[in-house]
Symmetry: C2
Subunit: 144 residues, 2 copies
DNA sequence: GGACATTAAGACCTTTTTGTCTTTATTTAT
DNA sequence: ATAAATAAAGACAAAAAGGTCTTAATGTCC
């Protein structure tokens, strides 16, 4: 509802990849998709985008696969979301008004705004690494 | 993002209708759609649904149109949303997990939950009448 | 260098959402 | 009764989101 399916898969995939990458492992698309319970070919397309955007890396050939270099520049979660869904998904009015602001609010502006700005702020500070770590510690989950 | 377009139009239409209905006016689909800046035939379909669900009323023929009887049982905003988008749109996990709860949270569960439950609560108490009144007073807007 | 494993790319398909058009039914006024 | 105004209904169309498949490119290992 808030994020597109594509974005959900992208987030889960990236987080899972990060976890595995800590051990220096590379992941095939098959294993990855199974693990995060996402449709395989669709996930492959998404991973390609992430590679092109340099959010993750990949190697072809035997022993190839997808991975994230933990020593690379940390990726903010918001950047991944921005890439897939666009950053303005946070700024949309609940009723679809073009201009919806403090001085020209829709009936639910206040609630919407306070939420989305809070969430945006959180995602602007959090890195993939941090999400991955909390999942590894068992504090959070990316599957059922 | 949160609500579908359909739901956005439905909300705006109902609020606008309510305002006009206070003066005992009925509104043709043409005028209504223009006023809330929504595609006319699509809006017509939505209004039909609202009529069937008895959230609004209509009369055919000359001097007919759509209206809301202000003396009828007040309509909770959440009921309109439930009709169009389904109530569970509030309960969806941000990452699409089937089970996402306090004890099995996704990485953004806390933020998501606190928001959506707050919004749901608000919409469960507010009536169309209240929204309409705040729009009439100029405290809120449903168009640009 | 050949076989094989793997990602990359792009064309394609399906479903859902959004939106349109045409015809029919109903009501009112004359 | 008839004409005009209006909503109701349903078939249709377009666009976006979601998803699949096939082929190409690339790398590894022997």
């Amino acid at each position: 509802m808030m994020f597109s399916k594509k974005c959900e898969y992208a987030l889960k995939a990236a987080i899972y990849l990060y976890i595995k990458s800590i051990d220096g492992k590379k992941l095939g698309i098959k294993e990855l998709a199974k693990e995060i319970e996402s449709p395989e070919p669709f996930t492959a397309k998404i991973l390609q985008e992430l590679v092109r955007a340099k959010i993750i890396s990949s190697n072809k050939g035997p022993n190839g696969g997808f991975y994230i270099d933990p020593k690379a520049k940390p990726v903010l979660v918001i950047d991944l979301i921005d890439l897939i869904d666009g950053k303005d998904s946070f700024d949309r009015c609940g009723l679809g008004l073009k201009e919806c602001s403090e001085s020209h609010p829709c009936p639910i502006h206040k609630e919407f705004k306070s939420y989305s700005s809070r969430l945006k702020k959180l995602l602007t500070t959090k890195t993939l690494k941090e999400f991955a770590e909390s999942v590894e510690l068992g504090d959070a989950f990316i599957n059922n």
